[in-house]
């Protein structure tokens, strides 16, 4: 019998009012239901109770001394009184104790104005202090990165400890020392890819945890909070942009409003500084000289008309909104008469998305990410999920803690989440698809396949056995470098789970085996029953905030918005856009690169994307960009790229514009303009609209709703367009995923093609997202430059010391940077973050891959 899991209800009386709550809930929850506010300093609904402050004392009939409302489980029939003169006196004394040696530095404390201690002292008229004691508080801790800890202000509520441990799983705060000296410490870690728990600042009720980037910059009450969306991770991180005088000061969020429940990514906590960077592009430029907007736009239009659509190509970005990307492709197809348009998705999510659509009829995730928290087993396949999509990580943490989910991690590196896993399959690159196939086979062999689902929805059920017969589990395990026992254990965990959440990320979508692995994961999802039911699902993760929205609007030569075949649908769009016809053909990014090299593409338009750093074979791109006759760079920050540009169009950052982002799980959210664009910058939407006008001579609406309605009219993407929501807004509703009977395809199982020799993986690191964060002082404070992570064994073999300068060389290029010796990469694997122009590791990586065979040398 459990006090928690039964759905039984409990009746109790609080201050004379009857209330019913779920068994296992605490008195404070019941009081909240009645609208009775019990004062507390340490209670935080989203983490386990602490009972530290002892302020929430209430009387329960029959119990001799007061009990704490926050962590006392209400039992049936109890009679609670929340306020008596004696209780008020005790609460007041508790507050007085809390104030013993609390410094009187409220005037310079960042928490002033939003300090729970200030409020509670005020509410309780705490005007005197009968207690005195020697001040033994530990001195202010200033040597942590990004966070300053002021123990003398701390009330030891442990909210920071718990939010980091229970909800992100990676925060490392804990109580150290004894007695009044006790304070919040953290492990002194020398991690290569450090994580600093920004949520600690967010949940601190006083001024103990202070954000260094925000410190002493603004009084909280002078800041306007604009509800918007975070700029990293494809899960609509709902945030409040705290602004004043047209400047972004910090990013906060609110509990209890959406599934994110007030949790912030590292990026929102500390990485937002690029918005205020001195490197922001403030004025349009032609030939590197500042010009008026009209001139810059005129130059672009004139050149486009001069060269004609066949010579023009453009690349856009998953940072741009749905409306912007819609206008981008419209500008290209209707305005420039060019179908040579693409994006970074070409090298990643687009390939996965195509496969999921082909075999499952699925775009994006099969369910809302909150279904991850409800799953019995979570498989994280080829994703550094804590870094790629922190909000998915939060759901995984919930699954593990609240739902006792089995966590199974499959990765080439020991990514953070691997440390928490029940099983970790550390595979050799090239064995991804085969591993997923082996798991599928084992589940079927164990008799644990979701047979009813397969029977109803899979059209080629007969192929399942046939394809799996070819899979040799032992051989796969050997090729992948994992133990058969562990592989079997993972399969049993997936098979036994009544619901499975399957999360995959960049190591799948960007890999050479993306197609096969996606198909294999789709097989695994079907067989493990991940696609049915109200828990679990299949979740493709991506670090970019609007990757799904980018895909949805067809920024690629092969499809029009709403995934409509380009050739088939172009007449419809031409008509809608009022042009005679859309151009034929079309080149993708890879073909564009070749065409620039061949001299057939003469005009390249880059909107919010930087191939010099982020695209594979970035060295080849650099040569091509130098060669291209006319380069338009529309971006927010100056870089080597803008230096190459013939025309620079300064764009508004995400905090300076409005528009729609679509999350990986097909929810939509509305970016809100919180400040004016820097300098003369304009939103991408404005720029595209003006160019479109310049090309077509017709006006283009800038209204998000109008653009979305146009998009909705041409596609079946949305079931509804229109702003909804209270705090955090949404602009449209997308169709949910519901597979049709006999519509899914079980794909053939791919064999392992394990790589040999030293392999380099390029990927995302925690502190950074794309290239923009390398302009954010906060992110740079903990991760200032690129590096090449190497195992102890490989370092020893090559005689490389930690911090030494090394070079890596592949068939397509070489790069050099500092070596960091680590236990997180196995022997045979190197890892390098792709964000840094200095290291520029993408020079080494061939197109369509994220791993490459390299040689490493000193120097």
């Amino acid at each position: 019998m459990s006090n928690k899991s039964e759905n039984a209800m409990v009746n109790l009386t609080i201050d004379g009012q009857d209330v019913q709550i779920e068994a296992g809930a605490t008195i404070i929850v019941a009081a909240e239901k009645l609208g009775i506010k019990i004062p507390t300093m340490c209670y935080l609904k989203k983490v386990s109770t602490t009972g530290a402050c002892r302020v929430c004392l209430v009387d329960v009939e029959g119990v001799d001394t007061p009990v704490t409302a926050c962590n006392t489980v209400a039992t049936d029939g109890i009679v609670v009184t929340t306020s008596t003169p004696e209780l008020e006196k005790q609460r007041k004394d508790m507050i007085r104790l809390m104030l013993v040696n609390h410094p009187l530095d409220c005037p310079v404390c960042d928490a002033a104005g939003e300090c729970d201690l200030q409020d509670i002292c005020f509410d309780y008229h705490v005007l005197d202090q009968p207690f005195t004691a020697e001040d033994v508080a530990v001195a202010k801790i200033t040597d942590w990165p990004l966070i300053e800890n002021v123990p003398s202000r701390c009330v030891l509520c442990e909210k920071c400890v718990k939010v980091g441990y229970e909800l992100t799983g990676i925060g490392d705060f804990r109580v150290v020392e004894r007695g009044d000296k006790a304070y919040i410490g953290r492990k002194d870690s020398n991690q290569i890819d450090p994580y600093i728990e920004g949520n600690a600042v967010a949940v601190c009720p006083v001024g103990a945890m202070i954000s260094k980037p925000f410190k002493h910059s603004a009084r909280s009450w002078t800041l306007d909070k604009v509800a918007s969306i975070g700029f990293a991770g494809g899960s609509l991180e709902q945030v409040d942009l705290n602004v004043k005088n047209n400047k972004l000061y910090r990013i906060t969020s609110q509990d209890d409003v959406t599934i994110n429940d007030g949790l912030l990514s590292f990026d929102s906590s500390f990485g937002y500084g690029f918005v205020n960077s001195t490197e922001r592009l403030l004025a349009p430029m032609v030939n590197q000289g500042a010009v008026e907007w009209s001139e810059a736009l005129k130059t672009v239009v004139a050149k486009a008309k001069e060269l004609g659509g066949e010579a023009i190509a453009g690349l856009s970005s998953a940072r741009l909104t749905v409306e912007e990307n819609y206008l981008f492709q419209k500008l290209f197809r209707a305005g420039f008469k060019s179908n040579n348009l693409d994006s970074e998705a070409r090298f990643g999510m687009q390939r996965s998305s195509e496969q999921l659509s082909k075999v499952l009829g699925l775009r994006g995730a099969s369910a809302g990410i909150e279904q991850i928290a409800a799953a019995d087993a979570v498989l994280v396949f080829g994703s550094d999920i804590t870094s790629e999509q922190p909000q998915i990580n939060y759901q995984i943490q919930k699954a593990c803690r609240q739902n006792d989910a089995q966590l199974l991690v499959v990765n080439m590196r020991q990514v953070r989440i691997a440390e928490q896993s029940n099983c970790f399959l550390n595979y050799v690159p090239g064995s991804e698809a085969a591993l997923a196939g082996a798991l599928t086979k084992l589940i079927v062999e164990n008799g644990q396949a979701a047979d009813a689902f397969l029977k109803k929805y899979v059209k080629n059920t007969a192929d399942i056995k046939k394809s799996l017969a070819k899979v040799n589990v032992e051989k796969v395990a050997k090729a992948a470098g994992v133990s058969v026992e562990l592989l079997k254990e993972v399969a049993v965990a997936l098979g036994e789970a009544s619901s499975v959440a399957l999360v995959f990320g960049g190591d799948v979508t960007k890999s050479a085996q993306c197609v096969e692995t996606t198909q294999a994961l789709a097989n695994l999802a079907m067989v493990s029953g991940a696609l049915g039911g109200d828990a679990g699902g299949l979740f493709p993760a991506d670090e970019k905030p609007n990757m799904q929205g980018l895909l949805d609007v067809g920024v690629c030569p092969e499809s029009l918005p709403g995934y409509q075949d380009y050739a088939k649908g172009s007449a419809k769009f031409a008509q809608a856009w009022g042009v005679a016809a859309l151009p034929e053909g079309g080149m993708n990014a890879e073909q564009v690169l070749a065409a620039i090299e061949a001299g057939t593409i003469k005009f390249l338009y880059l909107a919010g994307t930087n191939p010099l750093v982020t695209f594979p074979e970035s060295g080849r791109w650099k040569a091509a960009l130098k060669k291209v006759e006319f380069l338009v760079v529309q971006d927010i920050l100056s870089s080597e790229l803008t230096e190459l540009a013939d025309v620079v169009l300064p764009a508004a950052a995400y905090s300076e514009k409005s528009g729609t982002y679509i999350s990986c799980d097909n929810r939509s959210g509305l970016l809100q303009k919180a400040i004016c664009p820097a300098g003369e910058a304009q939103s991408d939407k404005q720029i595209f609209a003006q160019l479109l006008e310049g090309m077509l001579g017709k006006s283009q609406s800038l209204c998000n709703q109008t653009i979305l309605e146009e998009l909705a009219g041409l596609t079946d993407l949305f079931t509804e367009v229109g702003v909804s929501g209270e705090t955090y807004l949404s602009s449209c509703v997308k169709q949910g995923y519901a597979p049709a009977a006999a519509a899914l395809t079980f794909s053939a199982c791919a064999a392992a093609t394990p790589t040999k020799g030293l392999q380099l993986i390029s990927g995302k690191m925690h502190a950074h997202t794309g290239v923009t964060s390398t302009y954010a002082a906060g992110a740079l404070e903990i991760a200032p430059e690129g590096y090449i992570e190497i195992s102890v064994a490989d370092a020893d073999k090559a005689g490389i010391a930690d911090g030494a300068q090394v070079s890596v060389k592949s068939a397509v290029g070489s790069a050099s940077g500092v070596a960091r010796i680590s236990g997180y990469v196995p022997q045979g694997i190197l890892f390098a973050p792709y964000h840094f122009a200095g290291l520029n590791i993408q020079q080494v990586v061939p197109t369509g891959q994220n791993t490459v065979a390299v040689e490493i040398s000193k120097g």
Binding site: S5, R54, V55, V63, T65, I78, M94, T132, R178, A182
Partner: protein
Amino acid sequence: MGAWVLQEVILSEIVFSSWGRKIVDNRKGGEADLASLKLKLPTEYLGDSKVRAFMGWDGVVLLDKDTDIVAMAAEYMKRVQEKHCCGKCTPGKKGTRVLQDTLARILQGYGEEKDLEIIQNLSSLLEDCKCTLCMTSVIPIMDTVTHFRDDYMAYISGGRKPKYAGGYRDKLTAPCMDKCPAHIDIPAYIEDIKNYRFDDSLATIRERMPIAAVCGRVCPHPCETACRRALVDEPISIMVLKRVASDHEWMHHKPAPKLTKPPTGKKVMVVGAGPAGLTCAYNLALQGHKVKIIEMLSEPGGTVAVGIPDYRMPRHLLQREADNIAALGVEIEYGVKLGRDVSLKELKQQYDAVFLGTGAFKSKPMGVEGEDAGYDGFSSGGINYLRAVALNEGMKTPKRVVVVGGGNTAIDCVRIALREGAEESILVYRRTRNEMPAESYEVDDADEENVKFEFLVNPTRLVTKDNKITGVEVIKMELGEPDDSGRRRPQPVKGSEYVIPCDMVIPAIGQDPDLSYLDDSDSGIKQTRWNSIVTHGGTMMTDDDGVFAGGDCEYGAMTVVVAVGHGKRAASVMNRYLTDGKAILDDDEALEDAVNSLGVFNDDENIPVLGGLHREHQPKIDGPERATNNDEIELAMPESQAVVEADRCLRCYRVAMVAIDK
């Protein structure tokens, strides 16, 4: 208790006592002594100093009138605040600091009379503490303020100067922690579980016990009989929470930490890889000593491995624990028996110290006719039957099996017999179910598996045909007057004999240590009249210098957790013996034994906590079908449920302190 001289032996006057909330004040005459108060408080400390006063969660005991009680109160509060208070609640963190400083101020001559009011006010605020550590620490302080007010006033207005005792020694305890023979810091490991920190929880357990997987499953958990939560609703599932912590590491494929100190160059031999031996070896290895274990069986675990069936204690987990210990550099050699393959004398010559953890493997005879005639179908004893099954020694279990006895081994035998193919498995016990020493839940489990019980009967004769068992003759018994154990003595009913037909009889009425290896040694190791080894003063050292003993061979057949406690204590003393040449207790151990003798749990206490919460139970495989295999019956408690259960813990810490003359 050698380091301590118990009050039952030597009478001692007491000056004042408020212990147990009962005030005895002999300052102006009176003759009450510790014995008359039934206070089992030692008067001597570690053999060479005298106890002058004692302060703790339930009051103050003053033995020497010259003790400066105010100075002692100040010292006590200082230690509570600076050494023990976790800081995790406002009144504890701040309140005890204010108390410490207020008492210090008084001692320094800067006190005012209103400080006494502050102390009083704070002590009522501290009743709202998160746990009982700081909460109970004000009890002795308030007793001194109430009953020694003159002494306080002498400081406040009389300029008295403090007169410190020769020394103060303090000890953190809790009722559960005290009752646990291994003295695990139970509140700490439960709090870690409450905070989802399963690895930290296991680390806390491992400070006292390297085989948490075992004691998380088959411990008789005496701690739970001392759980204060039981006074509110039901005791905490302390044992099961230990399993949760232990299983977490195993189920996450995490390696056990290896934190050994640098090698000392000392060599230790541990005889027996049972719970006592493994625990001793583990702790010695952590200290940097080179340890070798010899084990007569072919696998680790001793009685746990071959005496506890796999459905209660899967042996692969026992093996995992042994592997973790071996990973610290401990060598384990199997199939080597002391007395047969090697002599104690040889071991003593080759090693710097020896620990004997040889268990109790000799079955007690039933004392019935034909018992030693070597009949086919008569087992030499329950423990041997279990071992033969566990080690796959070709033991054939026939259709009808009778097991004689009422303890855990008997229960294990009837249940194993079912799993080994017996169609009928019958337990014969001379008293009733109520008097069975076996754990009651295990008796219930056996019942559910269709074991048959014959209560109030005692075997009188083996019935045989062609040298083969065909039945056992039993006589009916009735319960008479209580015996020494408090249980009613069974007496035979004349002429009530009858025969239970069967193919096999397994006597399981107890085991003794087999100490034949001492026979030809000149070690001087003394034995008790129950064939167990004598050790001294809680040091676990035998009469032979450098030879230690613990577990069943020292105590007689007892529990796993007693063996673990012995192994840990022995390792601790052996470490001192190996480094300083002295086999003595340290302060912590001395006080551990002292508070244990005094008793920490008080079942009369009224606890002002809202109860009404059930104890959480781990799921279990149902009914008779489980008796068809050896799979573990008790399933792992989901971690989220463990967190809910852990949240019920009242964290009943207490701080004890003695003032001694030296």
